[in-house]
């Protein structure tokens, strides 16, 4: 069985889906292989907050039958998937890696999860994350950090660190993450896998526990670009339950996987290669531009202004929305409630003080401050204006380019414990990813090398709104030229 297990685990999601449809692999076999791998790796990696092994096995048999009956025809039918723990799953603990939701079992599933289930994907469990998606390392989880499968002395990135690590450690075949300021792309980059944050509004946010509602977007993390597109094909759909959801035609996206990038124009912002960028990351990313140029794309350097303003703008808007979004966690209706209290006010105060971790509290306070009377205009309103200017700067760039190419993060995965001591430094690490959320754009992270420590480096491609297909086209072409990317060997530095 052990050889078979590794054979299964080495497959991509689409390869496994194909093998299942050809009855070369059974759904139960795939689930069992995944559970065995989790058994082996979880102690080191800690990707999961909650495992749903029993249900996964039960569902495996049910799905197997439906595949046999030709009721399920999705290429992902029978493929094990992990879900970030900020997406509601009916009847399955959903904690946002927070003590305050430590006992929360939703009565409904998020639309994205529902769509995957309908396609026949098998949910293995819920993945660890930064508490309420606030953090860039997955260390702010109330249930302990997730570790990078490439080197467990390092973080996997965040906030979708559990999802990224689970994919990289073969603890699932693909995963859903959410990206508010880089939370899919950055951990994908740190863990040597592919992650896509699609255009805002293309995937329903219903059932995604909100951090920054105007920035949050669900997307896939998987072993390669094709897998990500297969996942997007299932989860992109207009949803009446989400007012910000749009009707987006995925035909172009599906047709983007042919390697043809001739004549496509790529802009490389000089501003993305300045101070603070690790030279090893810089050269790996520039190498990608050269490869695409050799395939017929036109690469040009240009100035993308306002990059410096992105971080304060992002942290103002995201924190403001978060401060309001997280008000509902009050000990009244669900979740954690403090044991002893005198009166309502103290119940609120103690519940929230004990239920939220320090990073969440920091952002609630920051958000409450920028929205408070007398400061609203100076901070929140100004941030909204800068956001509009950033969008305008991208609009100008996309009038000339099909995509913008740059790094995902300034460095490869930092060591565990290095980031939380200096939150400002951690915030600065988001510089290349957050403006994409501010402007609602699609972005993709693709592995493009490893540094001298053996940690993966990712390249980011950013596209115009609803032009997700263009960055996917470029990413796929690059991936084909790059060839097989190594898998983590594990170990501690």
């Amino acid at each position: 069985m052990s050889k078979l297990k590794n054979e299964i685990l080495s497959m991509t999601a689409l390869e496994l889906g194909k093998a299942i449809s050809l009855t070369e692999v059974g759904v139960r076999e795939a689930v069992e292989a995944t559970l065995a791998q989790i058994e082996e790796r979880e102690a080191d990696v800690h990707s999961y907050v909650t495992l749903d092994a029993e249900n996964a096995l039960r569902n495996a048999d049910y799905i197997q039958k439906k595949i046999a009956d030709k009721e399920l025809t999705s290429p992902l039918a029978g493929v094990p998937v992990a879900i970030k723990d900020n997406m509601c799953t009916k009847g399955l603990l959903t904690t946002c890696s927070s003590r305050i939701l430590g006992n929360f079992v939703p009565t409904y599933s998020s639309t994205a999860v529902e769509r995957l289930e309908k396609a026949g994907a098998v949910i293995i469990g819920k993945t660890n994350m930064d508490e309420f998606a606030m953090g860039s390392t997955s260390e702010t989880s109330a249930f302990g950090p997730t570790k990078n499968p490439w080197n467990t002395g390092h973080v996997p990135g965040g906030s979708s660190g559990g999802s990224a690590a689970a994919v990289a450690a073969d603890e699932c075949f693909f995963a859903l993450g959410s990206d508010t300021g880089g939370s899919i792309r950055q951990p994908a980059s740190y863990c040597g896998i592919v992650g896509i944050k699609p255009t805002y509004g293309t995937v329903s946010r219903y059932g995604l526990i909100a951090y920054g509602s105007s920035l949050d977007q669900i997307g896939p993390l998987a072993k390669n670009v094709s897998d990500c597109v297969a996942v997007l094909s299932e989860i992109i759909a207009h949803d009446e339950k989400d007012s910000t959801s749009v009707d987006y035609d995925i035909t172009a996206l599906k047709n983007a996987l042919d390697g043809d990038v001739k004549g496509m124009k790529i802009g490389v912002p000089r501003d993305y290669f300045g101070e603070g960028l690790d030279p090893e990351v810089a050269s790996a990313v520039k190498e990608v531009a050269k490869k695409l140029e050799s395939a017929g794309a036109i690469v040009e350097e240009f100035d993308l202004s306002l990059v410096d303003y992105a971080i304060p703008t992002y942290y103002t808007i995201a924190a403001a929305e978060a401060s309001s979004n997280l008000e509902r966690f009050d000990g009244i209706k669900y979740g954690y409630r403090t044991k002893e209290f005198a009166g309502l006010h103290e119940m609120y105060k103690k519940t929230r003080s004990e239920g939220f971790g320090p990073e969440v509290k920091r952002r609630i306070m920051l958000g409450s401050f920028v929205l408070s009377s007398g400061y609203y205009d100076a901070y929140y309103l100004k941030a909204l204006r800068v956001k509009a200017l950033i969008k305008k700067a991208f609009d100008d760039a996309f009038a000339r380019y099909d995509a913008i190419l740059g790094p995902v993060a300034p460095t490869t995965a930092p060591k565990l414990g290095d980031s939380l001591s200096d939150p400002i430094k951690m915030y600065l690490g988001d510089i290349y990813t957050i403006s994409v959320n501010l402007a609602g754009l699609p972005g993709i992270s693709v592995p493009c090398g490893t540094d001298s420590k053996g940690l993966p480096i990712g390249v980011q491609l950013i596209g115009d709104c609803f032009k997700d297909d263009r960055i996917v086209r470029l990413a796929y072409a690059y991936e084909q030229m790059r060839g097989e990317f190594p898998t983590p060997k594990g170990g501690i530095e």
Binding site: T107, E321, S324, R328
Partner: protein, 477 residues
């Protein structure tokens, strides 16, 4: 009191809209229901749930805005009002601060000195909160989210009213207008219409506003009248004794007929309003506005004018009938079926109002059909039934909406028209009551009443008393 004071009053009126479903989810707005049965993840503030605007709410708000001469905000937005309270499941209320749906309107009210305009500052849409119930036995508070997410509009007037009478006239006009639109039933006692009174006093002739207080918990016109009187006197007493009015929110206690301070301006919360990122800005098209405008019904003032021209009924009747769209509809439908307006008006003003009062019902609770009233009137016109029987049948129509033709047929209530029978009965009555006959003949006109009564009794009330009187007179002449 040497100085002359005047009141300056502005109103914030909350109106619950008559939509079938809630403002941001598909749950029922029906009143009553077991606690927390009209709820879903959205209106209980479950994590990850998202609001989606009920378009009917927008349409009602625009309809009220048009009827109150407001400008409609074509790009409007919802904002979050953040405050912690257990009846508010998200701990923020979705409301409108920055771009309310309607602004700069006007309501014309009838006062002793003729028509007066009260300006409308704005109308905004928002969601209602749930209900807290304190259980003294267990010393616990329970919350029912059935009302959470029921759509409201808040109508904010400018401080244009100067007396309690003007306030009542304004509220009655507003209520009437909204009922005419079908946008709400506006029942103060059930809370589907709630008014907060902002009141200050100043010396007559002064241009400057005094310090105002806001009064809450006013759930009848009666308590509004009393609260205004009480609060203005309290403020004048303060000023007269050299003290100053404190800007604060006061709660009216209807039983004790006095108000007490709830919170002062210093305790005012910072609601940290900001645009709700879960709801996209609403763009109101000209087509939508025009289609709503085209559907606006005839309002009360126009209706009154038309009634005066079309129907020969007293102004008093017109005032009462048009005060309720339901009564006005009933009146017009019955007239349209061929009944004489004056007679319809008499049935409404007489028996209908009497029964409403007896049963403590509102005109909106009337459930009988105009066609049955029209038939009843036809039957009395043709003397098929007499007026006593008609009243009896009307009660049946009022409560059970019976078909009067069938009912009269089944119960055998038709007027007895058999001449021979009438003659026979009246002759018998005359023979049996010689004293009354001689009284009548000696000039005591009243004595015939007794003979008519006796004859009607023998005929089991089913005769036309006028016809019976005629026969008796003829027989005795």
């Amino acid at each position: 009191m040497s100085k002359q004071y005047e009141m300056v009053i502005g109103l914030e009126v909350h109106v619950e809209l008559a939509t079938k479903t809630k403002i941001f989810c598909g749950c029922s707005t029906a009143f009553g229901g077991e606690p927390n049965t009209h709820t879903c993840p959205v209106c209980t503030g479950m994590p990850g749930s998202l609001p989606v605007l009920n378009k009917q709410v927008l349409e009602y708000a625009i309809a009220v805005g048009l009827a109150t001469n407001c400008e409609i905000t074509k790009n409007c937005k919802f904002d979050r009002k953040n405050y912690f309270y257990p009846d508010n499941p998200q701990n923020y209320q979705i409301s409108q601060l920055y771009l309310p749906i309607c602004r700069n309107g006007r309501v014309d009210i009838e006062t002793e000195n003729g028509i007066k305009s009260v300006r409308i500052h704005e109308i905004h849409m928002e969601e209602d909160a749930g209900k807290l119930i304190h259980d003294d036995w267990y010393d616990a508070s329970l919350v029912d989210y059935n009302r959470s997410g029921v759509p409201l509009i808040e109508i904010v007037s400018e401080p244009d009213m100067r007396s309690a009478e003007e306030v009542i006239a304004y509220l009655e006009t507003l209520r009437n207008t909204i009922q005419y639109l079908g946008a709400s039933d506006c029942k103060l006692n059930e809370g589907s219409m709630r008014a907060d009174v902002n009141l200050s006093v100043r010396e007559v002739g002064s241009e400057k506003f005094g310090t105002r207080t806001e009064m809450k918990n006013l759930n009848s016109f009666h308590s509004i009248m009393h609260a205004i009187k009480g609060e203005s006197e309290r403020q004048i007493d303060l000023l007269e004794s050299g003290e100053s009015v404190v800007q604060e929110t006061r709660r009216w206690d209807d039983a004790k007929e006095c108000s007490y301070a709830m919170r002062s301006k210093e305790d005012a919360q910072d609601y940290r309003y900001f645009p709700d990122p879960d709801l996209v800005p609403i763009s109101v098209s000209d087509e939508l506005i025009e289609s709503i405008r085209a559907k606006q019904p005839e309002m009360r003032l126009e209706k009154k004018k038309r009634y005066k021209e079309e129907f020969d009924i007293p102004e008093y009747d017109i005032n009462i009938i048009t005060n309720s769209k339901h009564l006005a509809d009933l009146f017009e439908e019955t007239v349209a079926l061929g009944a004489q307006p004056k007679k319809v008006s008499n049935w409404i003003m007489g028996e209908t109002l009497k029964l409403l009062k007896e049963k403590e019902m509102d005109p909106e609770d009337i459930s009988f059909s105009a066609s049955h009233l029209a038939d009843l009137i036809k039957m009395t016109d043709s003397k098929e039934i007499n007026s006593t029987v008609a009243k009896e049948v009307f009660e049946k129509i009022f409560f059970e909406d019976v078909d009067p033709k069938k009912y009269v047929e089944e119960k055998g209530l038709k007027t007895e028209n058999n001449e021979d029978l009438l003659l026979e009965v009246t002759k018998r009555v005359i023979e049996a009551n010689p004293q009354s006959v001689s009284d009548y003949k000696s000039g005591k006109e009243k004595a015939i009443g007794f003979l008519v009564g006796q004859s009607m009794r023998e005929l089991k009330g089913k005769a036309d008393p006028v016809a019976v009187t005629e026969i008796l007179k003829k027989l005795m002449s």
